[in-house]
């Protein structure tokens, strides 16, 4: 199910984010926080909502089989602080998503970054990390 693991990107992302405390709406026990996978897919929905925004995207494997993935982010208030918006991602966008998958093997995960068609990368932890006063 996991399409393309990119070890270098995963290591770099881990190093960048290792010291960032995560303040999730829910517990972190469901996620394999030590694991990061990177997927390329087509956005089917960007649900800008509380308690978490959800990004639904289809990932096609080499045999043409499509898996519907869902990644979550923090809530809109936090995401806005990190430079995200309801208009950041559109249905049909081809994106590259790096996420911490859930432990039970379902195609779900906590988003770390999203690489947009424009080449811009959105950092899902920026809203927590950013201190607007410093």
């Amino acid at each position: 199910m996991i399409k393309r693991a990119i070890p270098i990107l995963a290591v770099v992302t881990f190093l960048l984010s290792a010291s960032i405390p995560l303040f999730a709406h829910h517990g972190t026990a469901a996620f394999d926080s030590d694991k990061k996978i990177t997927l390329k897919g087509t956005v089917t929905e960007w649900f800008w909502s509380n308690p978490h925004c959800l990004l639904r995207f289809d990932v096609k494997d080499d045999n043409g089989h499509v898996t519907q993935w869902i990644g979550e982010t923090q809530n809109p208030v936090t995401m806005v602080n990190g430079g995200w918006s309801k208009a950041s991602i559109k249905t049909g966008d081809e994106v590259t998503v790096t996420l911490n998958p859930v432990k039970n093997g379902l195609p779900l995960g906590r988003i770390v970054t999203v690489l947009l068609p424009s080449g811009k990368t959105l950092d899902a932890n920026a809203g927590i990390r950013n201190n607007v006063y410093k």
Binding site: H26, G27, F47, V77, L106, I128
Partner: protein, 296 residues
């Protein structure tokens, strides 16, 4: 009592305008934005009005693992002084955060049904941008989360007394409230002490996201100390003889910083429709046994 005879619209208008006027005088910011500011001036007398945000950044107020001064991280020094009954109630709660967290899908936090957080949990969950409006009679706090407000009376009235079924106000028994009954008193030029009683019982609200309990016997004491023009320290003490054997400090001089008065605070709602969709698509399946969605 005479405040009752003043039309509520006039009160609201005066709160808004007096608060805005004070805030603008204090900061004199010409336009929107979160620009770096010059050194702070002295604290104004008897004034905590303004738009405030956690000084150490937005992450400081989320308090996902429980109250800031006593996070539920398993450390013995962070264990509140539970009574036997309090510990029993705590263990009956299934929180998504803290040392005894359960997986999503197995929790019973009233927050996740979009129930009112109640007081004092409003101070301990997603404490973000907080607008404080003030007039000679009362202080109104507008919390960002759930667009919730509470009133702190400063008109000299006495704190109601706890009685069976609620609180006694004058000769009248009034019902318990999610946000209780608050009375504030200035103890010096820059320190406001607020007492609150008459909150909901343990079956309706939690103290924090880690599932600590509170009861209808709870008495909360808050201290707001305006350190200087731009900084406000906020402390909260929990005194609940039903749940805890002695008072304890849940928030200790939590630092808030004054924002630009033009800051337009964003909505943050708990929507049952959004929550249902979230749980169906993500929350429930993410907590399912390996490779299976719940119920499949």
């Amino acid at each position: 009592m005479r405040i009752r005879f003043i039309p509520s619209l006039v009160i609201l208008a005066s709160l808004v305008f007096s608060s805005l006027a004070v805030a603008q005088n204090n900061q004199a910011k010409p336009g929107p934005g979160k620009e770096a500011k010059a050194a702070s001036g002295p604290a104004p007398r008897h004034d905590i009005s303004g738009t405030w945000e956690p000084a150490n950044g937005p992450g400081d107020g989320i308090q996902a693992n429980g109250v800031k001064a006593m996070p539920n991280d398993g450390k013995p020094e962070h264990q509140p002084p539970y009574s036997p009954y309090g510990l029993q109630v705590y263990k009956s709660h299934h929180a998504l955060e803290g040392a005894d967290a359960v997986l999503p899908g197995f929790y019973d936090d009233p927050r996740d049904k979009c129930e009112p957080l109640g007081f004092p949990r409003m101070n301990f969950y997603n404490l973000r941008e907080t607008q404080i409006l003030q007039n000679p009679y009362k202080i109104v706090m507008l919390y960002q989360y759930a667009t919730t407000w509470r009133v702190i009376w400063t008109d000299g009235r006495a704190l109601p007394k706890l009685v069976d079924g609620g609180v006694m106000v004058g000769n009248e028994v009034k019902e318990p409230r999610y946000y209780g009954y608050s009375v504030g008193k200035w103890t010096d030029d820059t320190t406001l002490v607020v007492d609150t009683i008459g909150m909901m019982g343990e079956d309706r609200v939690w103290l924090d996201t880690a599932g600590r309990p509170i009861s209808d016997q709870l008495h909360v004491t808050e201290t707001f100390h305006r350190v200087d023009q731009d900084h406000l320290d906020w402390s909260v003490t929990i005194d609940d003889p039903k749940m805890y054997t002695k008072p304890w400090v849940a928030m200790n001089k939590f630092p808030m910083r004054l924002e630009n008065p033009h800051e337009d605070v964003m909505e943050q709602y708990c929507s049952p429709i959004e929550m249902e969709k979230y749980n169906k698509l993500f929350g429930d399946p993410s907590s399912a046994p390996t490779g299976k969605a719940p119920g499949k």
